[in-house]
Amino acid sequence: MPSDAGRVRTVIVDDEAPARALLREYLSRHADLEVVAECMNGFEALKSIGERTPDLVFLDVQMPKLDGFEVLELLENPPAVVFVTAYDEYALKAFEVHAVDYLLKPVGRERFDEALERVRARLAGPPQPTAAPAALAAAARPPGQHLERVLVKDGANVHVIPVGRMDWARAQDDYVEIHSDGKSHLKQQTLADLAATLDPARFVRIHRSVVLNVERLARLELIAKDSRMAVLKDGRELPVSRAGYARLKELLG
C-alpha cells in the first residue's frame, strides 16, 4: 500500500469495534493522516506494526493476550504512541514510556485533535532519544508491583512466560537466557534489568550472572571453603557467589 510522502501512517489498536470506528472517524477529517492497519489485540498489533512500520499508533491498554504496554515493550523501533483507555491510572506510566499523549474514553473530538497536534510536533522534531524498551517498561512499573510474566520475542512469535514458570535465568552478553519448563529463551535485556522487575521474595540473584526462582532450589552444596553450588530440583547445578549466598540465606532464613 504505497502512501504519499509526508502522510502520517497510522495503526489503530483496540479490541472493541466501536472504539476503532470512533478513532477512524476522527482521523478521517485529517488529510495528513492515513490509517494503514487496524488491530484487535496485542499479537496482531505486534505483527502489524512490525510489518508496516507506521509513524503513529493509537494503542488501547486493556487488551487480550498482550496489553498496550507489553506491545510497546516488544517493539524494536516503536512509533509515536497515543494511548487510548478508559482507565486513568496508567497515565503516569504512559508518559514514562514516552507516549505522545494519553486519551481517556469517551474520547472527544477536540481532545483528539489536540493529541494529533502533539503527534505532528513530535514527528517534526528531532528524533526522540529512545531508551531500551524493556528498561523503560521496568522503570514504569509502579513500586511494589512486580512482573507477572516475561515476554520473549522469537522471530515473529512471542513467548509469554508467567514468572511462576520461570526456573532460572543467566546473563549472556546483552541478553538474558531464560529457562522455563526445560526450554531456554533468549531475551534482549540485561540480567540486572530483569532482576529489578522480579519479586525479590521469589527470585534471588545467586550470582553476578544468575537469577534463580527459589522454589526450584533443592539444596545447596559446599564444594570448597566459601564456595557453594545450588542444586535444582531437576538436578542442574548453578554457581552461588558469596553475596548470592548471603541473599539466599536472608530470604530462606
Binding site: 472493541e16 493476550k65 478508559a86 481517556l104 474514553k105 509469554v160 508467567p162
Partner: protein, 380 residues
C-alpha cells in the same frame, strides 16, 4: 484466669463480702467456753482461705455447661466438687484449731471442736453451692454478651458488604467504555446509538432501584444481567455469547440485590475482554432441594496474569452470603486453567413483593451517597 482477678476493686469487694460472712460465722460459733477473740482468730483466716477455694467453682462450672451436660453428670460433678472443697476445709479447720490451741496454750475441748468442725462442714457445703450458683449466673451473662457481640459484628459485616456492593454497582469503566461506544455509533449508526443510550439508561435505573431494596427476585436480578449483557454485546460484538439455563419457577425466589451482577461483570472481563476469541458466558439457576443454586461460568486465558482487585468482588459476595445464612448460604469457586465457575448457593425463600414495599424506605435511607475511593469502586 478467673474474672475476679482483672481488677483490685473486684478483689476488695469480694474479700469484704467474705469478711462479713466470717463475722456471721464467728457470731454463730461464739461460745462461753472461750474468749470471743479466740473464736475470731479461728474463723476469720479459715473463711478467707475458703473464699479463694470457692473460686474453683469457676472452672468446675465451665467444664460442666448447664445446657449440654446430663443431669447425672451435673449432679456427680458438682456434688463431688462441693464435698471435696468442704472436706478439705474441715481438715484445714482441725489443723488450724490444733495450731491455735498450742499458741494460746489451752487444753483441747473435744466436744467444742467436734461442734465447730461439723458446723464448718455444713457451712462449707452451703457456701460452695452458693458459689456454684453465682458462677453459673456469671457464665450465662458472659455467653449472652458474646452472642450479642457476634450478632452485632455479623450485622456490621453484612452492612459493609452491602455498601461495597452498592458502590461497585456503578463500575465507572463500564460507563466510560459504553459512552465511548455510543459516541462512535453516533457517527455511523445513529439509530443504534439511540438504542444503546436507552439500554444504558434502563440498566442504570434498574440497578439503582434494585440496590435500594433488601431483597429482590432472582428474575429481576437476571433481567438486570440481560440488560448489562446487551450493552456489552455492542462493545464486544461476536466475541460475546451467552448461554442460559434457568429452571422455570426459580425466578420467583428471593435473593439479595446485585448479588449476581458482579459475577456477570467478572465473567465478561475475564471470559471475553481478556480473550482474543472472546467466549461464552454460562448463566445457570436451579433448585436443589430447598437450596437455590446460581452458577456463572466463563472461559479464561491460562496465561492471563492475575489482575489487581480480582477476588475482592468474589470475597464481597461471599461475605454477603455468609451474613445472610452462615450455614446454608455460600460460594463455591472452581478455578481451572481454561475455565472459571462460581456457584452461589442459598436457601430457597419465595419472593413476596408486598413485604418489600414496607422495608424499602429503610434500605434506601441507609444508602446515602458516599464518595468511594477509586480503588474500591472498580473492585469487582
Amino acid at each position: 484466669m478467673h474474672p475476679l482477678f482483672v481488677g483490685r476493686l473486684r478483689i476488695a469487694i469480694y474479700l469484704g463480702l467474705w469478711l462479713a460472712i466470717a463475722a456471721m460465722l464467728a457470731a454463730q460459733l461464739a461460745n462461753p467456753a472461750r474468749p470471743f477473740g479466740q473464736t475470731l482468730a479461728f474463723v476469720v483466716p479459715l473463711t478467707l482461705v475458703y473464699a479463694f477455694a470457692c473460686l474453683s467453682a469457676w472452672w468446675v462450672c465451665r467444664s460442666l455447661p448447664l445446657a449440654s451436660t446430663s443431669p447425672t453428670r451435673l449432679f456427680t460433678g458438682l456434688g463431688g466438687a462441693t464435698l471435696q472443697a468442704s472436706a478439705a476445709w474441715v481438715v484445714l479447720g482441725g489443723l488450724w484449731a490444733a495450731a491455735l490451741g498450742r499458741l494460746y496454750n489451752v487444753p483441747q475441748n473435744r466436744p467444742l471442736l467436734v461442734h465447730d468442725l461439723s458446723f464448718l462442714a455444713a457451712t462449707g457445703v452451703a457456701l460452695y453451692l452458693q458459689s456454684i450458683a453465682v458462677h453459673y449466673l456469671l457464665l450465662t451473662v458472659e455467653t449472652a454478651r458474646a452472642a450479642e457481640r457476634r450478632l452485632l459484628e455479623s450485622q456490621v459485616t453484612a452492612r459493609e458488604a452491602e455498601l461495597k456492593a452498592l458502590r461497585a454497582q456503578l463500575n465507572p469503566h463500564f460507563l466510560f467504555n459504553s459512552l465511548n461506544s455510543i459516541s462512535a455509533l453516533t457517527g455511523s449508526d445513529p439509530e443504534a446509538a439511540r438504542r444503546m443510550c436507552q439500554g444504558l439508561g434502563d440498566f442504570l435505573r434498574q440497578s439503582l432501584a434494585l440496590g435500594a431494596r433488601e431483597r429482590v427476585s432472582l428474575g429481576e436480578e437476571l433481567a438486570l444481567a440481560e440488560r448489562y449483557l446487551a450493552i456489552e454485546q455492542i462493545r464486544f460484538g461476536e466475541r460475546l455469547t451467552v448461554a442460559r439455563e434457568v429452571e422455570p419457577g426459580v425466578e420467583r425466589c428471593a435473593v439479595p440485590p446485585l448479588l449476581i451482577q458482579p459475577l456477570i461483570e467478572n465473567a465478561v472481563k475475564h471470559g471475553v475482554a481478556d480473550r482474543v476469541e472472546g467466549g461464552t458466558i454460562r448463566i445457570e439457576a436451579r433448585r436443589r432441594g430447598d437450596q437455590l443454586e446460581i452458577a456463572v461460568e466463563n472461559p479464561r486465558d491460562p496465561e492471563a496474569p492475575p489482575r489487581r482487585g480480582q477476588g475482592m468482588g468474589l470475597e464481597n459476595v461471599r461475605r454477603r452470603l455468609t451474613a445472610l445464612d452462615p450455614r446454608r448460604a455460600g460460594l463455591d469457586v472452581t478455578r481451572e486453567p481454561e475455565r472459571f465457575r462460581v456457584v452461589v448457593a442459598l436457601p430457597v425463600v419465595p419472593f413476596e413483593p408486598d413485604v418489600e414495599a414496607t422495608r424499602a424506605p429503610r434500605a434506601a435511607a441507609a444508602r446515602s451517597p458516599q464518595p468511594a475511593a477509586e480503588g474500591e469502586r472498580h473492585a469487582v
